[in-house]
């Protein structure tokens, strides 16, 4: 079943590769002249053009691009002087850790809230939840992030300065998984773990706040629908305990549409994470791409878009699998 799902993701990946290739070729200006630097002679530029394959036809260039991709070659960053692939690999864990924490926080708040609101329609909780969902959808993430910085760091001093994954003088944990949280635990260094967690608080809150509204909204709507369903009525008519009715009969069914929505939420979350990385000087791939944009260095941006798209496709795959676990009907169909 996993293989079959993987196969369905292939057209998406092909599309992603074609689009990133086209984006690269739409780059204004002459990449060869760019690579050669301002002092280069026309001859040197021509040489680079040949080396980069820019003098060839578009299909040929595409083949070259695919060949490079297959080798894991995403070009070089002018800013860092490193291969883009290596740069991205070094920074991806920071992005993933942040995105994961944000999603977790959002789920931890949104699911209970949505359920609570749906089981008490018209109550205070319900009104607050609906207000929250509408307001949350209207929040510019980059602005809420700044407000959190102002209130929690500047005014109250509860949060550390928004400057990256760890305070400057701290030693990073030995890289095992790439997640500082996990690595600091593996290194049995609770002090370091706390320091890491502290840095994570603000960006996680910002991301979580952004993802909160859509998940709450969907959970509430799904629960309302399921609670009005015939099978929940059957369960109640059979005298089952309210807990059983709520969790075994209602919630599991309500999770189906919520899991489906999660794909869209993740799309949004991955996009928003770029903004959050910028605000908190988070050394992830989003901030890396933005630094490169400022330096007009396109290869890292291209690599970033490609990486994000691949991560997104994989996450969607995961969602599909999760859905299949919850809903027996899917397994039979495939």
């Amino acid at each position: 079943m996993v293989g079959r799902r993987l196969a369905t993701a292939i057209p998406g990946v092909i599309g992603v590769i074609v689009v990133t290739f086209l984006l690269n070729r739409a780059l204004p200006g002459d990449p060869a002249a760019y690579f050669a630097g301002p002092a280069a002679t026309p001859q040197a530029i021509e040489e680079i053009r040949t080396r980069l394959g820019l003098n060839r036809s578009l299909p040929e260039q595409f083949v070259l691009y695919i060949r490079d991709l297959a080798r894991g070659d995403l070009g070089h960053s002018l800013t860092t002087g490193q291969p883009v692939a290596a740069d991205l690999r070094a920074r991806l864990p920071a992005s993933l850790e942040l995105a994961f924490c944000g999603l977790l926080l959002a789920l931890a708040i949104a699911l209970p809230l949505g359920v609570l609101a749906a089981t008490r329609p018209g109550s205070g909780v319900d009104h607050v939840t609906r207000l929250l969902a509408t307001m949350g959808n209207s929040l510019p993430v980059f602005f809420t992030g700044l407000v959190l910085v102002y209130v929690l760091y500047y005014l109250l001093g509860w949060a550390p300065p928004p400057l990256g994954r760890l305070e400057v003088f701290r030693e990073t944990p030995p890289a095992i998984t790439g997640s500082y949280l996990i690595d600091s635990l593996l290194a049995r260094d609770p002090g370091l773990f706390l320091a890491v967690a502290k840095q994570l608080i603000l960006p996680t809150m910002t991301l979580g706040l952004a993802a909160l509204a859509p998940i709450t909204r969907m959970t509430r709507a799904a629960m309302l629908g399921v609670l009005a369903s015939d099978y929940v009525r059957t369960a109640r008519a059979n005298g089952l305990a309210p807990r059983t009715v709520l969790y075994v009969y209602a919630l599991r069914n309500a999770m189906l549409p919520v899991v489906t929505t999660l794909g869209l939420v993740l799309s949004f979350l991955l996009g928003v994470s770029v903004v959050v990385e910028k605000i908190y000087a988070w050394p992830g791939i989003g901030a890396y791409a933005l630094d490169s944009v400022i330096a007009s260095d396109y290869a890292p941006v291209q690599g970033f878009v490609l990486t994000m798209a691949v991560v997104y496709v994989l996450l969607n795959l995961l969602i599909d699998l999760l859905y299949g676990v919850i809903d027996p009907r899917v397994q039979i169909e495939s």
Binding site: V19, L139, F142, F143, V147, A221, V274, L290
Partner: protein, 285 residues
Amino acid sequence: MSTAVLRMARAGRYVVLGNPLTFGAFLMLAGLVTLALFGHWIAPYDPLATAVGPRLAPPSTTHWFGTDHLGRDILSRVIVATRLDLLIAISAVTLSFAAGSAAGASAGFYGGWTERIVTRIVDTIMAFPLFVLAMGIMAAVGTSVMNIVLTVALINFPSYARIARAEVNVRRNAGYVEAARLAGNTPRRILAVHIYPNCLPTLIVQASMNMGWAILSAAGLSFIGLGVRPPTAEWGIMVSDGSAFMMSGEWWVSTFPGIALMLAVLSFNLMGDGLRDLIDPRRRS
């Protein structure tokens, strides 16, 4: 068709007046449109002029929203920015509405190759996290207002195409369509006159729900330096301008444009909710 529009107009009045929240949103939108149209006359200072006051002055009677690091009047900049932000969002949504619904409707009606191509395009766009795709495009094509509009339109294209395709699909074999076919209408005419107008309500709801997100996307792009360029007065840039000062306590530089942005998005979202309740009462929340 005209009856449908009329019915909507009548019901629209009901929604606007019937729900205080929607009514508030309606008033706020009216205010925003006023600012967008007449902002240049309303603004007390030249939004681009530097040193109209001291640098980083907190809100006061002379500068209600304070001044930024170049001594520009923030209130004036917030007011004048309304036009640009709304213009970008409205143009982008109009564009993706037109292109997306036309493509989606054709796909749903003709099927075959048309459908395959449209779904392929939609799926390819949807394979990206949309804001990331917008970043990639903006980095490649360069920042200009036109490019922002096109990019935001592109990332919103799939939702219209999908809705239009689904809506047309369910109506393709409806009785009145069959009747129109038997009456000798050409397929194109059937689609344009008999099917498409009936899909409009759902699409319009989508558009109104989409406006807020379009504003946020455009402002977000400007915030990360891939949208409107300084010194233009635009909410996203202004928030970005003030971001460093949030850490040192000069909150007003970012906060006022941020609040303006939030209110604009909120009123569009509330309006969208109201419209959706009207058109699809089952999904009323």
